[in-house]
Symmetry: C2
Subunit: 214 residues, 2 copies
């Protein structure tokens, strides 16, 4: 046997110790405040690139924590991201996360408007009369729609977690959001994903609920 | 504007063209048969490491396709992986995917047995009287339980998609499965994830339903 059974809580603890040790080996010094989020993204992907590419607007984490504590709405661009977010912890703060991607109306509107379901989802969430955190782990078109509404002076998202992954419009759509004054956490470049989006949400939720990993 | 709107189908097409071009630039020549799976893992992660680390037991894809065509059961170790699998396409083949992780009995048994819910989930799925594809994107303990049952001569999984991600027991648990004669697709090393697990399933489903990407 090459493996030895380790209990789940202990696995997480050891994993974060390994991540901390390997960051040190690589001479990477993270900002103390941001470390829990960055380390959880690394924990979720086993990819140390996130230490270099995850960027935060000024005061982003405080802003995001405030929003969660005040029961902001959360919308994701994939059911996978929604599925990965710790909804028990979210409920403690009176928050609810939704994903509209499987909604039949969304599919119908996207077809009619020759756009993506993700873009339509963002537009619908923008019409909620409530501060909303946009969690984008997949579709650059979701970020593009948010940027378009912002540029037109129609809507300003309370927060964007912008970590879509991919090869077409992904890098650029992230750059556009970073040029606005919308508070954000973004992963520069091509990488990201629904798993990373959920990990970022969970890192903040765990911080808020006092579960220390870093 | 740095971005230009591209329709979803076109995004996928262009993305796979970019992946093919960059594989060529890197002098990486993929096996024709395996390329759709490997390219979809790269598409899902924007990480070309998968071209080097995804490994397949002999005849793995034919075996997996046969299992799906004959309506095998699928069990995942996360709801996130389950959520990412294209269930409409799966249903065409009479297959059903399940995840037992949120099951209350599973949580209870895991607590009693001082083990993980993932390990208990695998044990329960092993008791289904049906060929089962085990899709592991998160918990090395799921692979460890499958290996333990196999070694004890209690059970042999029909197929394992073994792509858990992480720092503790992940590398080793994958190696153990690769030493058996269980048909597998495994991502060597630390990387993987629920998104990669779902992407591998979807790549095979798309192949079976004639949706060509590569």
């Amino acid at each position: 046997m090459k493996t030895e059974f380790v209990l789940p809580g202990e696995i997480e603890k050891r994993s974060f110790e390994i991540i901390a040790a390997e960051l040190k080996e690589r001479n990477i010094k993270l900002d103390n405040k941001l470390a829990p989020v960055i380390c959880r993204a690394i924990h979720t992907t086993a990819d140390f690139d996130y230490a270099h590419t995850l960027v935060f607007s000024e005061g982003a984490l405080d802003k995001l924590k405030e929003l969660i504590k005040s029961g902001a709405a959360i919308v994701t661009d994939t059911n996978m991201a929604l599925s990965g977010i710790n909804k028990k912890t979210l409920a403690v703060f009176g928050c609810e996360a939704k994903c509209l991607m499987a909604d039949e109306t969304v599919a119908k509107l996207a077809k009619e408007q020759k756009t993506t379901r993700a873009a339509v989802s963002m537009e619908i969430a923008a019409s909620w009369n409530k501060p909303t955190i946009f969690v984008v782990g997949n579709a650059p078109t979701a970020l593009m729609k948010l940027y378009e509404m912002y540029q037109a002076g129609l809507y300003k998202p309370a927060f964007i977690i912008g970590v879509p992954v991919g090869f077409v419009n992904v890098v650029e759509a992230k750059e556009e959001i970073m040029e606005t004054d919308i508070p954000y956490i973004i992963n520069k470049g091509r990488k990201g994903g629904s798993n990373v989006a959920a990990a970022i949400c969970n890192a903040v939720l765990y911080e808020l609920s006092g579960r220390k990993c870093v």
